[in-house]
């Protein structure tokens, strides 16, 4: 990915001074899902849910006393998620999920999905596209790519799933990885959906895997000195992209070897380093 400096300028009129700012070269985006696949996914999921009859029932009880209501959230004592799987109704027998085993095989809700992703428990991830603000689910992109879990954005996921499941909104839905005994019910849906999911792109991760085939020419010392160069010699920085261009034929990707952060070197050593690097220019 060719990258130059990325300042973003906003110049409305000539008189107004423009202010340049450094924007991120990475924009993690979801891959767009073609309509057919989208419909397919939604209908498959819906049929599956109807078939299993998974639903959360909550009986709305008229609130009588305010004091009594306050005691309940205290007892819960955890951050209330937008989608809570626990039955918090006053009557435990009719409230809650119809099928707890099935419920355990799913991860519903952003927080639950995030946690499951962090623990590598998911095999498929579906995210609702109609999320405002987008930031709420953006972190899932990077997470799922690092753990190589297929994930996609499906518009109107929340609307269709929430109605079916009896929840307020379903912004993220994950299917947990199963042992052979469990999760027979969702496995067919997962297998049906996975091939339809487009691959995710995260530039900095993808770049590294693609360039991992590069053989490192430089040894440790020189790379260390590259680092020394970066923060000490300001003037020579201009040469750096050209240097790397000649060595790697890309200008921004470099493979740091295993070394820790460079401590500040003394200026007296500065001369020898530039000599060394000049060989490459």
């Amino acid at each position: 990915m060719a990258a130059a400096a990325k300042p973003s300028k906003k110049e409305l009129k000539k008189q107004i001074q423009s202010k340049t700012s450094f924007t991120s070269p990475f924009t993690a985006k979801w891959n767009p899902l073609p309509h057919k696949d989208e419909h397919f996914i939604l209908t498959t999921l819906k049929d599956k849910l109807i078939a299993t009859g998974l639903e959360k029932k909550e009986v709305k009880v008229p609130r009588q006393w305010r004091k009594k209501k306050e005691h309940k959230p205290d007892a819960a004592a955890e951050p209330v998620r937008r989608v809570s799987p626990e039955a918090q109704g006053p009557d435990p027998s009719t409230n809650g999920w119809t099928d707890t085993a099935a419920r355990r095989q799913l991860a519903i809700g952003i927080n639950e999905v995030t946690k499951a992703l962090e623990r590598n428990q998911l095999q498929l991830l579906l995210v609702c596209k109609s999320v405002r603000p987008q930031h709420m689910t953006n972190h899932l992109i990077g997470l799922s790519v690092t753990r190589s879990v297929p994930a996609c954005q499906v518009p109107r996921l929340s609307k269709s799933m929430a109605e079916q499941l009896g929840l307020k909104s379903v912004l993220a839905l994950g299917f947990r990885q199963c042992s052979s005994k469990e999760n027979e019910m969702f496995r067919d849906t997962v297998d049906a959906i996975i091939p339809r999911v487009p691959p995710l792109d995260v530039v900095w991760l993808k770049g590294s895997s693609a360039f991992s085939q590069f053989t490192m020419v430089l040894n440790k010392n020189i790379v260390l000195q590259f680092d020394g160069m970066i923060f000490q010699t300001y003037a020579l920085i201009a040469h750096l992209p050209d240097l790397l261009k000649k060595i790697f034929k890309t200008w921004w990707v470099f493979q740091p070897l295993e070394f820790t952060a460079v401590k500040h070197q003394r200026w007296s050593q500065h001369g020898s380093r530039t000599e060394m690097l000049k060989k490459f220019i």
């Binding site: 450094f22 070269p25 998620r81 603000p133 709420m136 972190h139 820790t260």
Partner: protein, 113 residues
């Protein structure tokens, strides 16, 4: 529309360091220290030359210790709902460098991306 040559080099440095930090973490997720050093330099450059960084970039840098925050690798993200605000929390969870810094985003704060 012409930028100062000095600034342009500085922006290139910022860009390079930012991408290098990402590269480092993708290569060896344990080497948080190096990524932190790159981001620290990046911040220092921006501060010395008074260069504006986009909020999207600043959000990925820890304010306290300048490490690069990547959800799942160096940071955890959660949704919270105190009263009516939906906020995202981010913490650094890496053990030796756990600075415990938490940053919150509100839904109205997000830049239109």
């Amino acid at each position: 529309m012409a930028t100062h040559l000095k600034d342009k080099e500085a922006y290139q440095r910022l860009n390079y360091l930012y991408q290098a930090a990402h590269c480092v973490l993708s290569q060896s997720p344990d080497n948080v220290e190096l990524a932190r050093f790159y981001c620290f330099t990046q911040k220092t450059i921006a501060r010395r030359l008074v260069l504006r960084q986009d909020p999207s970039v600043k959000r990925t840098l820890c304010k306290k210790c300048c490490s690069l925050l990547i959800p799942g690798v160096t940071a955890t993200t959660r949704q919270r709902k105190p009263t009516l605000f939906f906020t995202l929390m981010r913490k650094k969870e890496k053990d030796p460098l756990h600075c415990g810094e938490v940053s919150q985003l509100r839904p109205d704060q997000d830049s239109a991306e």
